[in-house]
């Protein structure tokens, strides 16, 4: 069966520091992968999606970037975090019956 792993669960980072969130999947090959952000009390905002290695589509211009170095690995990065980057980040694995979401990373930029 397909599984998705996302870490870390929580992260507190100072403004201006770099960020790297990792998402890996198992039980599938060539998956569609997604990064979403969710501000407190708000909806899901699609940040990036990838249909294959090295293929990244950005949905909104921002301080973040994504990379897909391996088929089952999707990374969300930033060179310098802003206070507005705080939020709940979710990785998702696409499938014919919807998305399977990771457990999320709560990022607080201080």
């Amino acid at each position: 069966s397909q599984t998705i792993h996302q870490w870390p669960a929580t992260l507190v980072q100072p403004v201006g520091s770099p960020l790297s969130l990792e998402c890996t999947v198992e039980g599938t090959s060539n998956p569609n992968l997604y990064w979403y952000r969710q501000a407190a009390g708000r909806g899901l905002q699609l940040l990036f999606y990838s249909v294959g290695i090295g293929q990244i589509s950005s949905e909104v211009p921002q301080n973040l970037s994504a990379s897909r170095p391996q088929d089952r690995q999707f990374i969300l990065s930033s060179k310098k975090l802003l206070l507005s980057d705080s939020g709940f980040y979710l990785c998702a694995l696409g499938g014919t019956h919807g998305y399977t979401f990771g457990s999320g990373t709560r990022l607080t930029v201080v």
């Binding site: 996302q6 569609n32 501000a39 009390g41 708000r42 909806g43 899901l44 905002q45 709940f88 979710l90 998702a92 696409g94 499938g95 014919t96 019956h97 919807g98 998305y99 399977t100 979401f101 990771g102 457990s103 999320g104 709560r106």
Partner: protein
């Protein structure tokens, strides 16, 4: 879209009552829909789905209704329990494996 920046609509129900959560979808080409439940601090979880060739589908204590004429989807939860407190998202699938999520509704069950 723009709606992700807005505060979630909220719904409060008494324990034991039925809940109805509504969703308006945008693409008339969407032929598959899913409801997700997101508990606090967790990722959304699949609840129930429905295809466009149906107008109703029932699960355990949940029912999804689809009205394609007005592009409206609803989730009914029978005998709502405290464990049902969560944010509920609808998602539509207009093409391929790409899904688009609604704004979400925050459900609070009052004991």
């Amino acid at each position: 879209g723009e709606s992700v920046g807005l505060h979630l609509p909220t719904l409060s129900v008494q324990e034991g009552d039925n809940s109805i959560i509504n969703c308006a979808y945008s693409n008339s080409a969407s032929d598959y829909f899913i409801w997700y439940k997101q508990e606090s601090g967790k990722g959304p979880q699949f609840i129930i789905d429905i295809r466009s060739n149906m107008d109703k589908r029932q699960g355990q204590r949940v029912t999804v209704l689809l009205n394609k004429t007005v592009k409206h989807l609803s989730l009914q939860i029978a005998a709502t329990q405290p464990g049902d407190s969560a944010v509920y998202f609808c998602a539509e699938n207009p093409w391929g494996n790409q899904f688009y999520f609604g704004t979400g509704t925050s459900l609070t069950v009052i004991p």
